[in-house]
């Protein structure tokens, strides 16, 4: 018997749960603007989230998936990506989408049952939200392959949850990324739950980062509630990706809210667990550090919140004021040109909306 292969998984953290630096901080942290922009983005996401949940509770939004407590992940992704990169998100990644230029109104439209939310004016090459878990990973491989084929210095960044790592599509994609040395990064939001199934119910592995070992690509674990670590590590992965090394980043976080507004997490998890993770909050952590380093104050905080509240309110207003789509819109982008075969049906649909004068009343 001889040992023929050895592997190690590393864990990265810069700020601990109390906002204290536990390692030498990356250079970008010297730039208060940059730090404040991360802070602002996380705060915006949280405010948006509260608003979205309120809209849902009052019947003005459909089922909605909250990223509460996981804002650092999306913000770091969005912050490290360049405009020319492509984001392939799942359904809990609007923090990243906002950073990419997707409007809050678009996200509200989507969860409000309107396809136009996926037709955002910015980030035109980014993928729309993917609901079928892990299916988006295969798209990321295709996007990255296209970039490599065209010798473009771009990367594809794909988001997935801890539950999603159990799906075949996730693995098939990692494996292919390894074979072709593609510029792609898979960021796992390990928020410890997949609806009611805990992380331990998904996989017996010590880490999710080690899934990368099965694909021969880079894998590492990062404190997903440390936006500095996340930003640094996603940036490093983007560097590697351009050299042809794909990565898995397991971002350790926690789903502080229900799975979606249709869920009631108290059925399956304890308040103690919530309390434990509340203490690791990404926003208050960065806040502590910013105050410690003197770049942030109570005044800054309230000014920020006022500004953000205005922004969110405007987005909500725009959402609520959006004219509904025509019914025939459901046919209009089915194909580039609607085949003759379906024209009748489109006509029927339109006719069904406008009962002809003097039409029979079947009530």
């Amino acid at each position: 018997m001889e040992s023929v292969a050895q592997f190690t998984i590393n864990y990265w953290q810069f700020l601990n749960a109390d906002g204290q630096a536990v390692a030498e901080l990356p250079a970008f942290t010297q730039d208060p603007e940059r730090i404040i922009s991360l802070y602002r983005a996380m705060s915006l996401t949280r405010l948006f989230d509260q608003k979205a949940i309120a809209l849902q509770r009052t019947g003005q939004l459909g089922t909605y998936a909250s990223p509460l407590g996981q804002e650092a992940i999306g913000v770091a992704i969005g912050s490290a990506m360049r405009p020319e990169d492509v984001l392939i998100p799942a359904y809990r990644d609007h923090a990243a989408q906002f950073m990419r230029g997707v409007r809050m109104t678009d996200i509200l439209l989507y969860w409000g049952g309107d396809e136009r939310g996926m037709d955002h004016a910015e980030a035109r090459e980014d993928f729309p939200i993917s609901v079928p878990v892990a299916s988006q990973c295969c798209h990321a491989v295709g996007v990255a392959y296209a970039m490599r084929l065209r010798k473009q210095p771009r990367v594809a960044v794909c988001c997935i949850g801890d539950g999603g790592t159990s799906k075949g599509d996730f693995y098939e994609s990692l494996n292919a990324a390894g074979v072709w040395q593609l510029p792609v990064i898979f960021v796992i939001n390990n928020n410890h739950w997949a609806i009611s199934v805990p992380r331990s119910g998904q996989s017996a592995t010590q880490t999710l980062a080690q899934k990368a070992i099965a694909a021969g690509i880079h894998g590492e674990q990062v404190d997903g509630n440390d936006v500095i670590a996340m930003t640094a590590r996603v940036a490093a992965a983007i560097e590697r990706a351009q050299q042809g090394e794909a990565s898995v980043i397991e971002a350790l976080s926690y789903r502080m809210g229900d799975h979606t507004t249709a869920d009631d997490a108290s059925r399956y998890r304890s308040q103690e667990e919530l309390d434990k993770y509340a203490a690791r909050d990404p926003i208050s952590r960065l806040n502590s550090w910013m105050r410690e380093t003197g770049i942030w104050s109570e005044q800054h905080e309230s000014a920020l919140h006022e500004a953000l509240a205005v922004q969110v309110d405007q987005a909500v207003k725009a959402y609520l004021a959006t004219e509904p789509q025509s019914v025939q819109s459901m046919f209009d982008d089915l194909y580039e040109t609607l085949p003759t075969a379906y024209k009748n049906q489109r006509d029927e649909l339109v006719a069904a909306q406008t009962p002809p004068d003097g039409g029979t009343d079947h009530g």
Partner: protein, 326 residues
């Protein structure tokens, strides 16, 4: 006896059968502690233990494939796919293995599994949560595909599905999960599979439907009755194999047929029923067959879903159209 909803009837059937037969297992995503995202399996894990009410990893092909392995060992797995929108990755396991295990081993092994999944629109659910793709399974030889439309039939047909020696895809119309209540005695009595249920007798036109659309179809029959038109309403219930005798017999009497389903029109199960009439019931037909179905487009997000789904009005209009022919 209390009245129960369709989803409660599902739970009641599962619990009855698990209590009665140690070989019955439930598996799927969130079926355990959480009792299923629709609460179909609520209380089962507490009562029958985590070994028999199994929360699986998030992996649909595994769920179906594992059920095949369990069934081959003589167990009676009841697998849940959380929404029909996530059922497609199991078609391979169902088509390549579950449906043909008995056939390819000439009876040596078999696959007495039930695959449950909620389906259909109308509850303002998120994207991919509202489609009706039962036709995909109805084209696979060796399967049964069963769809209840009331609490009583949910109970009786699910019991029958669990006792069936062959694989059954059991699709639950989630729009009517909690819509009506009825008394469903918890007596373990199954209802027959492979037969249509005639819910209302009539002589002028035959309305054929299944699942949640039975609601609109019955309402349409009421509207027609007010107009003096007597509509027969048939709940297909088992869409594969199809009980063509009941449908043909009815159309032989009425001469007219409207088929109602939520699924996309083209190549839906309605096509098979209309084909049945064109091939075996032509001489009875006094008017063209009407299909009132989902449009041949992607089920829209929920703002428009009501426009997509067949309405009572559309069913009534279609029936009236068939009656224009003398």
């Amino acid at each position: 006896m209390a009245e129960i909803t369709l989803i409660e009837a599902v739970t009641q059937a599962l619990a009855w059968e698990m209590a009665d037969d140690d070989n019955v297992l439930v598996l799927g995503e969130d079926v355990g502690v959480n009792g299923g995202v629709f609460r179909a399996t609520v209380g089962l894990q507490e009562r029958f233990g985590a070994e028999r009410v199994i929360d699986t990893p998030l992996a649909e092909s595994l769920i179906a494939g594992m059920a095949i392995g369990l069934a081959a060992q003589g167990l009676r797995p009841v697998a849940e796919i959380q929404f029909m929108g996530f059922i497609y990755s199991i078609i391979d396991q169902m088509l390549s293995h579950a449906s043909r295990m008995r056939n390819r081993t000439r009876g040596r092994l078999s696959c007495p599994m039930v695959l449950r999944a909620p389906f259909g629109g109308g509850i303002h659910a998120p994207e991919h949560h509202s489609e009706s793709t039962e036709a995909l399974f109805a084209h696979i030889p060796g399967l049964r595909v069963v769809i209840p439309s009331s609490p009583g039939r949910a109970y009786g047909l699910l019991l029958a599905a669990m006792r069936d020696p062959d694989p059954v895809v059991f699709l639950e119309p989630k729009r009517i999960y909690r819509l009506v209540k009825e008394e469903v005695p918890d007596n373990g009595e199954a209802l027959p599979l492979d037969v249509c249920y005639t819910l209302r007798e009539g002589s002028d036109v035959t309305l054929v439907s299944w699942g949640a659309m039975i609601k609109e179809t019955l309402e349409a029959a009421d509207v027609l009755a007010e107009k003096g038109i007597s509509a027969e309403v048939i709940d297909v219930a088992t869409i594969k194999p199809l009980d063509s005798a009941t449908i043909l017999e009815s159309v032989a009497r009425t001469g007219r047929c409207v088929i109602v389903h939520e699924a996309v029109r083209s190549c839906g199960v309605g096509a098979e029923i209309a084909a049945l009439l064109a091939c075996e019931g032509l001489l009875h037909l006094m008017a063209p067959v009407q299909r009132v179905a989902g449009y041949d487009t992607v089920m829209p997000l929920f703002r428009l879903e009501n426009h997509y789904m067949p309405s009572v009005q559309r069913v009534v209009d279609a029936a009236l159209k068939t009656l224009e022919f003398e």
